[in-house]
């Protein structure tokens, strides 16, 4: 098989194997929580397919590594060995290691590393063989050497199978320097010589560091059609101790980070890749398109002839049908991009387990609404903010068991992740029954940072909102889990980049709830059309709080030219849309236009426009595809009359405004 052909299948193999690894991981975690024996079979099957596939698709290292894990699983499966925490822990690390191997395979890097070697030895040790260090060393030595002798004697019929010895030797030459000596002893008398058979054999001296697996890999396809002996001539002196100390406290953290990195890499590559669509959805689409074609041809008959009352009624009926089909088609097409949030939730059981073990906390994770579907793009980007919230909740939110007991709660804290549809939005909540936010600590910190002048009279909500300010962290000690310089402000920014909002409700002593509200899709938004002079702008509905008509004297001008107005109990800055976008309008006086209170970047501002025209759904089109990014504009859409209207980027406008203020 050609290299290119193989590469195509490798990609499919990698995707399937990553799914297999996910299955292994979730089954292992379920086993850890007392799942039944059927899970062992599931895990075994997944490991077995990966092993088989790896050998077929040219990853011999991965295949032999998985083989070790498979052997251990086989012992468990056949009842020779009782599964326990240690085995699960080891197998979980094996899963991580395999994920890293796949990531490296995709990046075209060598697959083996010290971690893999260490794990391989641990697996062998677990099975009670190769346990003594010397034995392990001996095994390793045979796997890697500076020089090899390969005796290759094809069977007479090898050529008939389409295998060319010359090609194999050339491939070997790619591994190291070759000295090839032919063995001519099998050549028969000329009269008896069959030119279609192979009568030669070779002794090949290979110089240069190489692994046994690499050499054996060359002969993968002819294994059964030749006599092959691979012997190491010179043994590499390995300095590094390959067995990683599993008891070292840093190890689990490193693993968490590794797993995260592998995931991130994988997700990055997945962003551009494919979506699997169920055949039902596609059949549904085909049906709809069929209906659409029928409706269209029905409407086509109205091109000719006069339209009387009866035909008018038919026309109206046809148009109504057209509208219905179009709407259904739109929904179905959007449905293709919708995937259940389970793919994001699934990473958390493992993460929660690792973090809580490290911190010595007892955490029960509950997942609610895993089947809630949301747009693929949103799904890919919601993972990181959620990881952050979960990490925070365990690290800062939930207390140690003794402290929980002291405050009359059970030893085990509960962390709940839930997803649900609410209106046209997806609501994702991360809630814990931990200590909740400490109002005093937050106020003190905010005062120290100069974020607020005084905590007096601030609502709990406003205080809680302070943690979303850049550089804010109340943890007394920054642990290696939280406090790595990415704060809640990044969470808020990531969410607002997705057109969503994040809010917090917290009761001291009872726990906190972080609520992320996201649009169902990024491709279509609900918006209000605002008029500024002759121009039309779309303001996303999610960011609109309220719109008010103000009296001319309600707006005060402060030093520096900024304008403020009182809304409820706070003063909000005014952004005049005609100023920032340079539109021509006759409406400049506050009482003639409309103040739309909008929220973005965690701040509220008043957007001054001439008026609001109406609500509409807008299909978001990119400005960048043919032009470039424009500050304060998130995209464009096409209005019913075919003209283009720009969509206002509230977060961008707020940023623009604060930069202006700073300048």
């Amino acid at each position: 098989m050609s290299k290119a052909g193989l590469a195509q299948f490798q990609q499919v193999f990698i995707e399937e194997s990553l799914e297999g690894l996910d299955t292994m991981e979730s089954s292992l975690l379920a086993l850890d929580n007392g799942g039944d024996g059927e899970l062992v079979h599931t895990i075994f099957r997944a490991a077995h397919s990966i092993k088989g596939g790896a050998a077929t698709f040219g990853f011999p290292e991965m295949s032999s590594f998985t083989h070790e894990a498979e052997s251990l699983l086989d012992e468990v499966r056949s009842g020779k060995r009782e599964i326990d925490g240690a085995i699960i822990e080891l197998l979980l690390r094996t899963v991580d290691c395999l994920r890293n191997m796949f990531a490296r395979a995709q990046a075209g890097e060598p697959l083996n590393d010290a971690v893999a070697e260490g794990l391989r030895n641990e697996l062998a040790a677990m099975m009670g063989r190769g346990a003594p260090a010397a034995g392990v060393q001996a095994r390793r030595n045979v796997d890697q050497a500076d020089a090899w002798t390969v005796r290759f004697r094809p069977h007479a019929g090898m050529l008939a199978g389409g295998n060319e010895p010359l090609r194999l030797i050339r491939e070997l030459a790619g591994i190291g320097e070759l000295t090839v000596t032919p063995e001519l002893d099998r050549i028969p008398e000329f009269a008896k010589l069959d030119p279609t058979e192979c009568h030669l054999g070779w002794t090949i001296e290979l110089k240069g560091p190489a692994k046994r697996a690499d050499i054996a890999g060359v002969f993968d396809w002819v294994e059964d059609e030749c006599d092959l002996a691979i012997e190491a001539k010179h043994i590499v002196a390995e300095v590094a101790a390959p067995v990683a100390a599993p008891a070292s406290p840093a190890a689990p953290v490193a693993n968490v980070a590794d797993a995260g990195a592998a995931r991130a890499q994988r997700e990055a590559s997945a962003e551009s890749s494919s979506v699997r669509v169920s055949i039902d959805k596609i059949d549904g689409l085909i049906n709809l398109v069929g209906e659409l074609v029928i409706t269209q041809s029905m409407l086509d008959t109205f091109r000719e002839g006069d339209i009387d009352a009866a035909r008018m009624a038919m026309l109206e009926h046809g148009l109504a049908q057209l509208a219905r089909h179009t709407r259904e088609l739109q929904e179905s097409v959007m449905g293709i991009r919708m995937l259940p949030i389970a793919s994001v939730f699934n990473r958390f059981p493992r993460m929660v387990r690792d973090i809580s073990q490290k911190l010595g906390k007892q955490v029960k994770l509950e997942l609610v609404g895993e089947q809630t579907e949301l747009d693929k793009t949103v799904l890919e980007k919601i993972g990181d903010p959620m990881v952050h919230l979960v990490r925070n909740a365990i690290d800062h939110g939930l207390e140690m068991p003794d402290k929980r007991r002291a405050s009359g709660k059970g030893d085990t804290g509960t962390l709940t992740l839930s997803a649900s549809h609410r209106g046209g939005n997806i609501v994702v909540e991360v809630s814990d029954d931990g200590a909740g936010l400490n109002r005093e600590a937050i106020v003190a910190k905010a005062l120290q940072r100069g974020l607020i002048a005084s905590g007096e009279g601030m609502s709990d909500e406003a205080v809680a909102d302070l943690i979303f300010q850049p550089g804010f962290s109340t943890a007394a000690v920054t642990t290696d889990l939280s406090g790595r310089g990415v704060g809640m402000d990044v969470v808020r920014r990531n969410v607002s980049d997705l057109g969503g909002t994040v809010t917090i409700r917290s009761t001291q002593g009872k726990g906190s709830v972080f609520t992320i509200t996201l649009p169902l899709t990024l491709a279509i938004i609900d918006g209000l059309t605002a008029a500024v002079g002759e121009e039309r702008y779309i303001v996303p509905l999610v960011s609109i709080v309220e719109s008010v008509q103000l009296k001319a004297d309600a707006v005060r001008t402060v030093a520096g030219g900024g304008e403020l107005f009182r809304f409820r109990n706070e003063y909000l800055p005014v952004i005049r849309l005609h100023d920032v976008f340079g539109c021509e309008t006759s409406i400049r006086s506050i009482d003639e236009g409309l103040m739309v209170v909008v929220e973005g970047e965690g701040a509220r501002v008043g957007l001054f426009v001439d008026g609001l025209i109406g609500q509409q759904q807008a299909v978001v089109k990119s400005l960048e595809a043919n032009y470039r990014r424009v500050q304060g504009i998130s995209g464009a859409t096409i209005l019913a009359d075919g003209s283009v209207a720009l969509i206002v980027d509230i977060a961008g406008l707020v940023r623009l405004q604060s930069r202006r203020k700073a300048a």
Binding site: P470, D489, V490, R493, E535, R536, V580, F581, G582, C583, K621, S622, L623, E624, A625, N626, Y627, R628, R629, V630, Q631, G632, I633, A636, I638, G642, S643, V644, A645, L646, R655, R659
Partner: protein, 168 residues
């Protein structure tokens, strides 16, 4: 250059357009379509010669006024005013010109370099000159009209600026 096959291979076609009583040639391979002038939607913070964006069958396409681009006086748009949609490096943009007139076959050896003076247009945007009968045609270098390199520099600068803010 007497070899007929060779000069045919080097022949290309240019769409000629009128602009302030001069004739300009646009490489026809870059022309996607020609459409009558329709009002566009203005975009904020755009250079003065970018009139706005229009809807080209669902794609948002910027439109520039060639007169303004070349520093010529603006003229009222009339019945002959057209928007020529040009595709360069996968990006589309429209240019508004006074009128389209012709399609010219131009051989490579008929293109003469642009003298440094004597045109109303900045020579930077010109590939060369050619003649069609008595008329002189200025061949445009369409790649440079929208100055994509400027756009890219700007895009590269923007995220950097917001990062600085996030750290601060």
């Amino acid at each position: 250059m007497s070899d007929p096959i060779r000069s045919e291979a080097l022949q290309s076609q240019y769409l000629t357009v009128n602009l302030a009583h001069e004739e300009y040639g646009i490489d026809i391979l870059a022309v996607r379509e020609i459409r009558g002038w329709t009002p566009v939607t203005r975009i904020p913070q755009a250079p003065h010669y970018v009139l706005g964006v229009l809807n080209l069958r669902g794609a948002i396409v910027p439109v520039i006024d060639m007169r303004l681009r070349f520093g010529l006086p603006r003229e009222e748009y009339g019945a002959t005013t057209v928007t020529v949609i040009i595709t360069v490096a996968g990006r589309n943009f429209g240019v508004v010109v006074d009128a389209v007139s012709d399609v010219l076959d131009v051989t490579a050896d008929a293109i003469r370099p642009v003298p440094d003076m004597g045109t109303t247009v900045d020579t930077e945007y010109l590939k060369g000159l050619t003649s069609a009968g008595e008329r002189m045609v200025l061949l445009l270098d369409v790649d440079k009209l929208l100055q994509p390199q400027d756009a890219q520099m700007l895009e590269a600068a923007l995220p950097a600026a917001s990062d600085v803010k996030a750290v601060a």
